[in-house]
């Protein structure tokens, strides 16, 4: 690290600031309350220069709240943020960036129709000729190229964001933070959207950044990655630091620390006993919302008593495939049969009624009505049939007793069945959806990303319920971008890439091979790479 040059326009006062020693960060007794809820309870963390510090915790443990305070999006009620032995107050991300702290959010903050260089300059534009001057695009572009070369992060400054794959978009976010000359980078669940290969690349980038003296705070709940990259691990549970660990700690121990009890990470199941074919999809063609072909001639078969897993990086047509089966999306061509019944053209209501259970991938968007109570959400697709009601009225008593039963059966943690689903944690919301869809006799159960944003404890439970459903003779279709999940649950794995099924493999296939298939690389067509 040579002289600290600020690549972009900065607020007055900070421009002359130079620092040659890498940044050391201390959080001392950080406490944040939201009403009666203590989101962060006297948290102490020290991030040494040049280390990858993993922050491990379940959803809702308070990781994001903590990082938002560090990045100036929230202000702590108590405690201090100390940068290089100097207490600092961050009123906005601008202050945090000026102090050398950058953040890459889980959901990228990029404008899809802008170029890479424009996105990187956004918020710190090079302007010539005073406040009403014009943009100096040439200089922005040069800065991008320089930064990307310095850190070995190749990005094309002229590409449009919307044309880039997710991994490249994330690289743009990292370059964006680095052009602000930050010395500490917060990565919030960075691998959630990446393929195994992209994840591997990211880990390499992280290693080279720390080698250059940058520190990284790595927020995640994926234990494997933590073990692979972290120098130190801090585990947070219910707003408190419950322990620090070294990367040598076993996954089981880390999970137990995270959840507060012993967790079984393996999905326990006996070999499948497949029966008759239940779902048969042939030559299916479906378009996405923009009218672009998303599913391009898919043939699939799911038999009773087996779990068919669809592996694939998000955005390769899995969503559209499942929505077409559920009657939520028009079918351009092809056939979908549930045993002998043709599902194409049927309404979603009739499909659900013919013995199909469906857990949509986006829980808060499609799965639950947050303004509704747990009771109401548990009958969201059964409200007008026995025993809950008929076409005219709903039997409140039956709804309530059903809710009591399901809350107990599925271990849904809520104050009462009458409390709003929006007040529940992600894992418990997901249990509401799973409980609802499994509370009637099924022939086919479809689960998209069944454990996304769900804590480790609930993942274990949801997986065991899915296997239980399979063992009762239901045909199960699981779609997940988490390879571990697909491998753990499925009896057969279909790998989907660009709207097609590239291969159907056994779960015993080496991960590496499945990972390559997810990236579109099959043994016989190596040019499919990249």
């Amino acid at each position: 690290m040579t002289e600290r040059r600020l690549a972009f326009h900065h607020p007055p006062g900070s421009v002359t600031e130079t620092r040659e020693i890498p940044l050391k960060l201390e959080l001392r007794g950080i406490t944040k309350r939201f009403g009666d809820l203590v989101a962060n309870d006297h948290i102490d963390i020290t991030v040494e220069p040049g280390e990858v510090h993993a922050l491990l915790g379940e959803n809702g443990a308070g990781k994001s709240t903590l990082m938002n305070q560090l990045y100036g999006l929230l202000q702590p009620d108590e405690g201090q943020i100390v940068v290089d032995d100097e207490p600092r107050v961050f009123k906005s991300p601008r202050d945090a960036i000026a102090a050398g702290i950058g953040m890459v959010h889980q959901h990228f903050m990029l404008v899809p129709v802008f170029t890479v260089a424009e996105n990187i300059a956004l918020g710190a534009e090079e302007v010539r000729g005073g406040p009403l001057g014009w943009l100096d695009r040439r200089r922005s572009r040069r800065d991008v190229i320089e930064t990307s070369e310095r850190y070995g992060l190749p990005v094309d400054p002229d590409a449009l964001i919307e044309d880039l794959p997710v991994g490249a978009q994330q690289r743009v976010e990292i370059v964006k933070a680095l052009t602000r000359e930050v010395d500490l980078l917060i990565l919030d669940e960075p691998t959630a959207v990446l393929t195994p290969q992209e994840t591997e690349e990211l880990l390499t980038v992280m290693r080279s950044l720390t080698a250059m003296g940058k520190s990284i705070v790595f927020i995640t709940h994926k234990l494997k990655e933590v073990k692979a990259i972290a120098d130190r691990i801090t585990v947070i549970r219910r707003g408190q630091v419950v322990g620090t660990a070294s990367p040598d700690t076993s996954e089981e121990e880390l999970a137990a620390l995270m959840v507060g009890r012993a967790v079984n990470l393996e999905v326990e199941k006996s070999p499948a006993e497949p029966g008759d074919s239940i779902l048969k999809i042939s030559g299916l063609v479906v378009d996405d919302d923009r009218g672009v072909r998303a599913v391009d001639g898919v043939d699939l078969e799911v038999r009773a008593g087996e779990v068919l897993g669809i592996a694939g990086v998000q955005g390769n047509g899995q969503t559209e495939l499942v929505e077409a089966v559920m009657g939520l999306r028009d079918v351009r061509a092809g056939a979908i049969h549930l045993e002998n019944e043709d599902l194409v053209g049927r309404s979603t209501k009739r499909i659900l009624r013919s013995g199909v259970g469906y857990v949509p991938e986006d829980r808060s968007h499609d799965g639950v009505v947050k303004e509704f109570s747990v009771e109401e959400n548990l009958i969201l697709d059964m409200y007008d049939r026995a025993p809950f009601g008929n076409a005219f009225r709903i039997d409140g008593g039956a709804v309530a007793s059903n809710a009591r039963h399901r809350v107990e059966q599925f271990d849904i943690r809520c104050q009462s069945p009458a409390s709003l689903v929006g007040a529940l944690s992600g894992g418990n919301q997901q249990k509401v959806v799973v409980a609802r869809e499994m509370s009637r006799p099924l022939r086919l159960f479809i689960a998209s990303q069944p454990t996304r944003g769900v804590d480790v404890g609930s993942i274990e439970f949801i997986h065991s319920r899915i296997i239980h459903e399979r063992d009762q003779g239901t045909a199960v279709l699981v779609v997940s971008s988490e390879l571990d999940e697909v491998v753990g649950l499925a009896d057969r794995i279909a790998v989907m890439y660009r709207g097609r099924i590239l291969a159907i493999v056994s779960p015993d296939t080496p991960r590496e091979e499945i990972g390559l298939l997810m990236a579109g690389i099959t043994g016989d067509t190596p040019e499919g790479a990249k």
Binding site: S347, T348, L352, H365, L380
Partner: protein
């Protein structure tokens, strides 16, 4: 008490009303030149200005209350036999008369809103209700009771038609209901203005724009005399109960609320969002049409271009004030009715123009629509109970 002082809906509504009354008082003072003149020598003799202001404001608001609820003097006169009970209850009767149609239009807007639709078209739907009920009322000449029922049903159907059209347009083409209902408001208003001067509709022997009178058998029964109140208010309460049941207990109400809160989740759960929109708009239109029918059959007894007054647009405010809940809407409508009835008396006794009442109504709604403002003024503790801001933002 601590609970009261947190920012719940009830507290916010009450405080909004207090703020409106205070600002109204200021307006009353500055619009009166004689009181204002006393402020010219305020530093010399402040008591003059203060007592004059107090007298003016207190008389004005006392008249408002007397006109809306009742005058104690008239009650004591009734007890001593110098006045009739009808006179004593005339103010309440006025309040209920003004409130009745607003209950229906308020329910129309509130119900649509719960389903995620912003029904600006309650006015047009009410006008169609007026037209259909009015024409049915003076055309068929059916026997008593039956004539009334037919006229009311006609009004409901008229409004339902005017709600069904934007619902269908939204479901089929995605046309936004705000735009289409505003347009249909103009259409309905102009159609009424044209209709009342057509032969066969216009009252015989009249050159002004008024239709034939509704047959007596089709009118909503009323005690008569100074008591203008009619069966409409009873129907309004029953309808409120019906809408409350529909919304909270029926399968259709479940669909409405699900679609209104999260149409994507509703669709995923197999609820047809398009069908719900169409049916909901028709029902909402029917409610507004019912309101129009009570106006014609209960109060006006004939069609004029302005027979529907402003009941549809006031319905928007009533629904807002009632926070889109059926019973809340009923009480909001009663409040609006009371303000209107009291305003009449305030105008004739205190000489304060009726527009002040409109300003008061507007201020109450304004403060309720901006809960952050009221919270800031009274430093209320934060509470998540106020769903209105969010629901407005969504609309």
């Amino acid at each position: 008490m601590k609970r009261f002082w947190s920012a719940n809906n009830f507290t916010l509504t009450a405080l909004s009303m207090i703020m409106a009354v205070v600002i109204g008082a200021v307006l009353i003072i500055i619009s009166d030149s004689t009181v204002l003149a006393k402020f010219a020598y305020f530093t010399a003799r402040p008591s003059d200005a203060v007592s004059a202001s107090w007298l003016l404001v207190s008389t004005a608001y006392a008249d408002l209350l007397k006109g809306a609820i009742g005058d104690p003097a008239v009650f004591s006169a009734w007890f001593s036999g110098e006045a009739t009970w009808q006179q004593a209850f005339a103010p309440i009767s006025e309040t209920l008369t003004y409130a009745a149609p607003l209950v229906f239009t308020g329910l129309s807007v509130a119900l649509a809103f719960r389903g995620g639709l912003f029904n600006i078209g309650a006015q047009g739907q009410a006008v169609l209700g007026c037209i259909a009920a009015g024409i049915a009322g003076f055309t068929f000449g059916l026997p008593i009771v039956l004539n009334l029922i037919v006229a009311v049903v006609a009004g409901v159907l008229g409004g339902a038609l005017w709600g069904f059209i934007p619902g269908l347009l939204k479901a089929r083409t995605g046309a936004h209901e705000v735009i289409t209902t505003i347009m249909l408001n103009y259409t309905a208003g102009l159609f009424l203005a044209w209709l009342v001067i057509q032969q066969g509709i216009q009252a015989p022997g009249r050159s002004d724009a008024i239709s034939k009178a509704v047959a007596e058998s089709a009118q909503l029964p009323s005690p008569g005399g100074v008591l203008r109140v009619h069966l409409g208010i009873v129907l309004a309460v029953l309808t409120t109960a019906g809408v409350a049941w529909l919304l909270n207990k029926s399968a259709f109400g479940f669909e409405i609320r699900a679609v209104g809160a999260n149409p994507h989740a509703a669709k995923t759960a197999g609820i047809s969002v398009a069908k719900t929109y169409v049916l909901l708009m028709a029902v909402a239109g029917g409610l507004a049409g019912f309101g129009g029918a009570t106006q014609v059959l209960g109060t006006a007894h004939a069609l004029t271009p302005s027979v529907a007054g402003n009941i549809g647009f006031d319905g928007l405010l009533v629904a807002l004030l009632g926070r889109n809940r059926p019973w809340g809407t009923l009480f909001a409508a009663l409040l609006f009715g009371a303000l209107r009835a009291g305003g009449n008396r305030m105008q004739s006794f205190s000489g304060i123009s009726l527009e002040l009442v409109t300003v008061l109504q507007a201020l109450i709604v304004l403060f309720i629509a901006a809960p952050a403002l009221v919270k800031a003024i009274f430093r209320l503790r934060a509470s998540r109970a106020t769903g209105l801001g969010a629901s407005l933002a969504k609309g």
